[in-house]
Amino acid sequence: MIASDKEITEITLNVCQTMLGLELKRDDALPMETEKPWYSSSVCISGDAKFTIEVVACQDAADFIARAMFGIEESTPSLEETSDALGEIANMIGGNYKGILGGESQLSIPCFETKDSGLNFDFADHETVNFMLETGYLVVSCRAN
């Protein structure tokens, strides 16, 4: 069964608050279009259960997460650092959801990609939860494969 809204919310808030001290708020509005790119990191659960967990963030939110993770105060994180940080968020959310599922399954290594827009994602057939960070949107979704 696809992760519920409640499961995604609880796991995401726990991961971001416990590990990074980030305060996220649920925001049920659709992510706003921005001129800057969006970043996505996804992990796949395979085996008894087959799901993809995807974490999508606008550039400002992704940079904010990378700054928190790397302890960067002044400079802009590199794309490599942003990829690493977003990948770890996806990895932790995926790993925690896999723990809820139980059974024999494996978690993939995070896959990172850059997207042009926060509005072009096909969220149909996903359970998707939008969060607002201090600097922009973070969207976490789960879909069955």
Binding site: M19, F70, E81, N91, G95, G99, L107, S108
Partner: protein, 120 residues
């Protein structure tokens, strides 16, 4: 004490090592590897006292690394710091010879409780 920290994420290596310091474990010397294959090379050159490893990594993952180390007859203390938190994964780790499994997200307190008997 020399600790080999194996994780393909530089960000997570920084967070883990920072959290270990916050947990009160001073004086540890960290050496690092990005995956299991690199870890085997670093173990040969650096002779660490303990290994902290992620589970999911490219090239050679954490459980494959632990099994290789044990196959080679090395009894070094080995623990996982991983987002994998199912009971099945924990049991697989312990069966393969892991001393502990710390799940992400973690806190300084969870490190203190788990690592005190390991590092003292």
């Amino acid at each position: 004490m020399k600790v080999l920290h194996v994780d393909d994420s530089k960000a997570m290596r920084m967070i883990v090592q920072s959290t270990i310091k916050k947990a009160g474990f001073d004086g540890l010397q960290f050496v690092q590897a990005n995956n299991g294959v690199e870890a085997l090379e670093v173990m040969e050159s650096e002779k660490p006292d303990v290994v902290f490893s992620d589970w999911n990594m490219p090239e050679m993952n954490g459980i494959e690394l632990l099994r290789k180390i044990r196959e080679d007859g090395n009894p070094i203390t080995f623990g996982f710091i991983t987002s994998e938190k199912s009971p099945e994964t924990r049991q697989e780790a312990l069966d393969a010879g892991a001393t502990f499994v710390i799940s992400k997200p973690f806190t300084p307190e969870s490190f203190r409780l788990t690592l005190t008997p390991v590092l003292s």
